[in-house]
């Protein structure tokens, strides 16, 4: 782990986010540590409510102000601490250094403006220029995300485009200022499968072209296998396993990861009932003693229910970690 820390582009250490609601307060992001290098894709996998989006929003420092607070840790981008920046400095980071692609292209474009205007807005905020150069760069951004006839498309309104096309525009906005890190929060969930595949290929190509790091948030292990280099698996606000994709698929160290992978339907092999994980994750406000996955875990013993497992290496190489008592024993 120490070797990767030096060349990490985005380095997150012990990040903690507390959310306060009427029902009580809890930590949807509990002691997260991970890092991404340039040109690398890190998958963040977990089910709804496991804290994936919260993690993304806390990296952008865009948590809902009244309810959520960052309670500790550090987020370093290129060695620069983001958590202590002023709001004004942070605005310069957003869009220029870290950018984000949101889930739903239907609503993430403003219906009142042409897509060209909306790409231009991002450009103007971080790299102002004359009308003509801005227009050229806007068309160029559209061309990079492979929108056909970008000279005409700049004048279209979002309502005149298909979902896949709109998501490309959202992508064009996100990459327009050539950020170092892009956070993609389930960008393909609302697209149909063929468009999804095209979009993922596009992301990969853009990454090869620019060397940006991608944080890919998803609940789909199929996409992770396709796109990501490394993956972290989250459960109930904790990182339960992290490591290179190949290793995790070959030998998942945490029972939750194992269950998730076996729940991915396969095109090959026999048709059988898909496996499911029995039970439900704990409610965020529940007080969890021991391992949060223990009630649903087929291997759980008495210690799993009473003591929280530490994060340990899952093999000798040190780049694959998990927090499970079984790994401690092994």
């Amino acid at each position: 782990m120490n070797t990767s820390q030096t060349d990490a582009l985005l380095d997150v250490r012990n990040l903690k986010v507390e959310v306060t609601t009427k029902a009580g307060s809890f930590f949807p992001v509990n002691d997260h540590s991970f890092s991404v290098k340039s040109g690398e894709t890190l998958g963040i996998v977990g089910e709804s409510g496991s804290g994936k989006s919260m993690t993304a929003m806390s990296l952008m420092r865009l948590l809902p102000k009244h309810a959520a607070k960052i309670r500790g840790g550090s987020v370093k981008l290129d060695g620069r601490e983001l958590l202590t920046l002023s709001e004004k400095e942070m605005r310069k980071v957003r869009g220029a250094d870290i950018s984000m692609i949101l889930q739903d292209p239907q609503t993430s474009l403003n219906p009142a403006f042409t897509v060209g205007d909306q790409i231009k807005e991002a450009l103007k905020l971080h790299a102002p220029g004359g009308r003509k150069t801005l227009r050229e760069r806007t068309i160029d951004a559209l061309r990079r995300v492979k929108v056909a006839a970008p000279e005409h498309r700049v004048n279209s309104y979002p309502g005149e485009m298909s979902g896949g096309m709109r998501q490309r525009v959202v992508g064009a906005i996100a990459i327009s200022c050539r950020p170092k890190v892009i956070i993609a929060d389930e960008p393909t969930t609302s697209l149909d499968v063929t468009v999804q595949a095209q979009y993922l290929r596009l992301l990969k190509e853009l990454q090869d072209e620019t060397g940006m790091a991608i944080l890919f948030i998803t609940h789909d292990f199929g996409i992770v296998a396709n796109l990501c280099h490394r993956v972290i698996v989250m459960y109930a606000g904790r990182i339960v396993e992290s490591g290179p994709v190949a290793k995790i698929f070959a030998k998942p160290a945490h029972p939750y990861t194992e269950a998730l992978i076996s729940a991915v339907p396969s095109l090959h092999g026999q048709k059988e009932r898909l496996t499911t994980i029995p039970g439900q994750p704990p409610a965020p406000t529940d007080i969890v003693v021991g391992c949060p996955f223990a009630p649903r875990c087929q291997y759980a013993d008495a210690r799993c229910h009473s003591e929280a497992p530490p994060t340990v290496a899952a093999d000798q190489s040190g780049d694959h970690t998990t927090s499970c008592w079984r790994a401690v024993e092994a």
Partner: protein
């Protein structure tokens, strides 16, 4: 079997095609009764609206025994009703337009900010809205007339006061929806400030609503102005605002009915046409408002 044709794409209706639904008759009435008189009163009036002519007192309109000299008859001082209506149009237009402008600016600004920042400011503005909607405009008009004297300014303030709450409430409601829209989040992610989001992203999405609401309020503003004048707390005499003209004819309604009738008819035709145009605009610009 009946032949069914399915076109591949629903043809988009151009602005020109939609304009065929435009209410032409109301617009024509509005132009003739209100807009043209308001701007060209000096050219189309037949007599000076302020100068009495006691020899021509209480002339009936033409077709009721009158002459073309005084087509809509004269009042008890012998002033030409037609010329007075024509000259009054300008004041009616100015009061309703500026009054609505005040309402739009105040209401939209407060509604935008309240809906966006929420919290105590939102609560404060919404209570002001409740108070404003509960307080009769007439009461405020009376108070203002007593405090600063009835004038053009006091009438504009009353109209603005009576209308701002509707704009504030409507705009706030839409902002509440829009502030959580993903495009706002996306713009935040791209590095926009709150100010930029509010005025570059949210405001353009509520302009349709504002325009429609403003048009629908013109009728209310004109009625309010007429009521104030009728009660003697509007723009003071001798300015011939329409409400004042109706008020002038009140005592003669049984005998010399035309003094009150024609200004009243002008008010009715104007408000009716404005409302019909407003309805059309609402249906064209903002289908969501149809239920309102």
């Amino acid at each position: 079997m009946a032949e069914v044709q399915i076109s591949a794409q629903r043809p988009r209706r151009s602005l020109w095609q939609r304009s065929r639904d435009f209410p032409i008759l109301p617009l024509a009435v509005l132009l003739i009764v209100f807009i043209i008189p308001a701007f060209f009163a000096h050219w189309i009036a037949l007599h000076d609206p302020y100068v009495p002519n006691l020899r021509a007192r209480l002339q009936p309109p033409i077709f009721f025994g009158g002459t073309w000299e005084y087509p809509l008859g004269t009042d008890r001082l012998g002033r030409d009703i037609y010329s007075r209506i024509v000259h009054g149009a300008w004041y009616v237009l100015a009061v309703s337009f500026i009054g609505i402008l005040v309402g739009v600016v105040v209401g939209t600004t407060l509604g935008l900010i309240a809906g966006y920042v929420r919290g105590w400011f939102d609560g404060f503005v919404m209570r002001l809205v409740d108070i404003s909607l509960a307080l009769p405009a007439m009461l405020l008009a009376l108070a203002l007339a007593a405090a600063m004297g009835a004038s053009f300014l006091s009438v504009v303030i009353v109209v603005g006061f009576a209308l701002w709450a509707y704009f504030a409430r409507q705009v706030r409601a839409e902002v509440l929806l829009l502030r959580n829209a993903d495009f706002v989040a996306r713009s935040r992610v791209a590095g926009s400030s709150h100010f930029r989001i509010l005025f570059r992203h949210i405001l353009p999405n509520v302009t349709n609503t504002i325009v429609v609401l403003a048009t629908l309020q013109v009728g209310i503003a004109i009625m309010l102005d007429a009521s104030l004048s009728f009660l003697g707390i509007g723009i003071p005499r001798p300015t011939p605002t329409w409400g004042l003209l109706v008020s002038d004819g009140r005592d003669f309604i049984a005998t010399d009915w035309w003094i009150a009738f024609f200004p009243g008819l002008a008010i009715m035709l104007t408000v009716l046409s404005v409302n019909m145009i407003g309805d059309w605009l609402r249906d064209t610009l903002d289908p969501r408002l149809r239920q309102v």
